[in-house]
């Protein structure tokens, strides 16, 4: 960081001329302020809006109503806690989040390692490019594809299972409550594994080829080379991605989109396993107009998320010396 101290030494004498420096940068500050104004309106105002979770807020009073409405303390939190669906919803949120991380996190790593072992460059590039196509497809299209392949009446996989005699009748993948978590995990893997493999492939590409040559001369086989060179080589990247994932675990990790999945794949029949905190808050708020209650439910999840972000950050700093902030 020598350049930094040099810059500081040059700037220091000018610091007394703060106003002059500021006016010289006035356009730059204007650009930045436009951005700050945007964040104030669309990021920070909603943060203050959280207050409505502790108040009897009515939507007709607009933004100022958030501050002027009457305080009700923890009323809505207690109501959520006593909601007959509270247990189910919290269980679903946690189960979906943790299961998804456990099952989806290793897949891109394995996939990247396998791709790296492919010597035929054309095949490698083709598989890799194809694999991250689903990442850019809307969850709505994935819902349509799931309908095409998994539904009880037109679903191709169901037809196949029945005709091969592996199932007696169509399996209700999309409507059975016992299938929802599996459905969410497998569609998440299908959609995102190829995309997250990119980052691990980049990390593998950074490993020096001489290590592999040396190991080969020492008689290490393919698997031994993967185990002793590739895996240790990408450890740093794996840790960083894991921290980021844990920080956003309740949203579904980096693989993301618990909300999209629970909302789009959720229906009356699998409701008992597909309703999560976010979708419930969404329905209470936007569908039923119970804004304060919905904000309280949302805040409940945000508090847990913040705790997770800070613990992930703390753990990261302890174990690898680098953190998110």
């Amino acid at each position: 960081m020598r350049t930094n101290t040099v810059v500081k030494n040059i700037i220091k004498p000018n610091q007394s001329l703060g106003w002059k420096r500021f006016t010289k940068q006035k356009y730059l500050h204007f650009f930045v302020w436009v951005g700050m104004l945007f964040l104030l309106v669309f990021a920070y105002t909603p943060m203050f809006g959280i207050l409505m979770a502790f108040k009897n807020y009515s939507i007709t009073t607009g933004i100022s109503g958030i501050f002027t409405s009457e305080w009700v303390g923890l009323k809505y939190f207690k109501e959520f806690y006593n909601d007959y669906r509270f247990y189910d919803i919290v269980r679903n949120t946690l189960a979906l989040s943790f299961l998804k991380v456990i099952f989806t996190f290793p897949v891109p790593i394995l996939f990247a390692i396998m791709l790296n072992e492919v010597k035929n460059m054309a095949f490698k590039r083709f598989v890799q490019t194809a694999s991250y196509l689903p990442h850019f497809i809307s969850w709505v299209v994935v819902l349509g594809l799931a309908f095409t392949f998994l539904s009880s009446d037109v679903g191709l996989i169901n037809k196949l299972l029945v005709s091969l005699g592996l199932a007696e009748k169509s399996i209700p993948f999309l409507t059975g409550s016992s299938y929802f978590w599996g459905l969410a995990i497998s569609t998440a893997v299908w959609k995102e594994a190829g995309w997250w493999a990119i980052i691990f492939l980049a990390s593998i590409a950074g490993i020096s080829p001489t290590l592999y040559e040396a190991a080969q001369i020492d008689g290490a086989g393919r698997l031994a080379r993967i185990w002793h060179i590739t895996l240790p080589g990408i450890k740093g990247t794996v840790v960083v991605v894991l921290i980021l994932t844990i920080g956003s675990i309740l949203g579904g990790g980096l693989i993301g989109s618990n909300f999209d999945q629970a909302y789009l794949f959720g229906n009356v029949s699998n409701n008992s396993t597909s309703e999560i905190v976010q979708t419930y808050a969404f329905k209470m708020g936007l569908a039923q107009g119970r804004y304060s209650y919905a904000a309280a439910i949302d805040l409940f999840q945000s508090v847990i998320s913040v705790i997770l972000i800070f613990s992930a950050n703390y753990l990261a700093k302890k174990t690898s010396g680098q953190g998110l902030f």
């Binding site: 700037i11 420096r21 356009y27 500050h29 204007f30 650009f31 930045v32 436009v34 951005g35 945007f38 964040l39 309106v41 669309f42 990021a43 909603p46 943060m47 809006g49 959280i50 409505m52 939507i59 607009g62 933004i63 072992e117 492919v118 598989v127 194809a130 694999s131 991250y132 196509l133 990442h135 497809i137 809307s138 709505v140 299209v141 819902l143 349509g144 594809l145 309908f147 095409t148 037809k159 299908w190 990119i198 980052i199 980049a202 086989g221 393919r222 960083v240 921290i243 789009l264 976010q278 808050a281 969404f282 708020g285 936007l286 804004y291 919905a294 904000a295 945000s302 998110l324 902030f325």
Partner: protein, 291 residues
């Protein structure tokens, strides 16, 4: 090295090629199946059996799709929000990034704290909805564009990109009497074309795929997007009778129309997505390890 392949080598190769081929098939076949189904008569599809090519080739589905006013409007809205959203998002994000990219900008630390805090914490959907409502954005086209003007992920990438632009390029313009806005417009943007291209594609794809805003922030039929109409028709074809009984007299079913809409939604992405992985790795690293 003229070494014979060991048994281990062969086994590893076979397993890897096998697994990767399965992955390749599982990724691409669904899209291929959509494509052939969209060119197959809807009634024929319901009978089953067309898995490799359309057994009863027809353009009826597309003819129906492009003649229905609700689909045409949805397509128009989706294309509109994609183009306008991408252009405005890129320009806005780059402008803010340019301001922040100056190494000796005053209050830089403060600005960065504001941005990073906003990246990690949010007020949640309900207060956000209240803000949109108070601004009068609900049920307007603006609700697709204005709240997504600033993209914090690309803000960080653009800042680091702009920092790499040689200072001399800008210096010469300053000497000619150009102000920051001119420098941004005439020098910084033109030399950042690769960044701008990736950014606009990325933001554009996000706009194209977005569905929550169209489902909940607008109510007029004239503002619904393609994604919204797809949700609608998918939920409708969940009822089997309805999947069959669509448009008497033609071979088009609600299901074949749904598949056609899905193809229309996927094809533009198929054309651009290989260009979108640029900056991704760098962006993740920027997002995780900040100065």
């Amino acid at each position: 090295m003229l070494k014979r392949k060991s048994v281990e080598d062969v086994v590893v190769d076979v397993v890897i090629y096998l697994v990767l081929s399965v992955i390749l098939f599982a990724t691409l076949y669904p899209f291929y199946y959509l494509l052939i189904t969209s060119f197959n008569s809807g009634k024929d599809t319901l009978l089953g059996g067309s898995y490799l090519w359309p057994s009863s080739f027809t353009l009826e589905n597309y003819a129906m799709f492009f003649s229905r006013p609700e689909w045409l409007t949805a397509l128009f809205v989706s294309v509109g929000r994609t183009i306008i959203g991408a252009v405005s998002g890129v320009l806005f994000t780059c402008l803010v990034a340019y301001g922040l990219s100056h190494k000796d900008l005053m209050f830089k630390k403060f600005y960065f704290v504001v941005i990073i805090f906003a990246m990690y914490f949010s007020g949640g959907l309900i207060p956000y909805y209240v803000v949109l409502r108070s601004l009068g954005l609900l049920d307007t086209f603006g609700v697709y564009i204005i709240p997504s003007l600033l993209n914090t992920f690309f803000l960080l990438i653009a800042i680091s990109f702009f920092r790499e632009i040689p200072q001399e390029l800008k210096e010469s313009a300053y000497i000619d009497g150009a102000n920051e806005f001119t420098v941004f417009y005439k020098i910084v943007l033109p030399v950042s074309k690769p960044l701008l291209a990736t950014m606009s594609l990325f933001i554009g794809v996000g706009q194209w795929n977005s569905w929550v805003d169209s489902a909940y922030f607008v109510t007029s039929d004239s503002l619904r997007t393609l994604t919204y109409r797809m949700i609608e028709i998918i939920n409708r074809s969940r009822v089997p009778q309805d999947a069959i009984a669509h448009a008497a007299g033609s071979g088009v079913t609600s299901y074949s129309l749904q598949v056609t809409a899905m193809v229309v939604s996927v094809v533009p992405i198929l054309c651009v997505y290989p260009f979108l992985q640029k900056y991704f790795v760098q962006g993740i690293m920027l997002g995780s390890v900040k100065e």
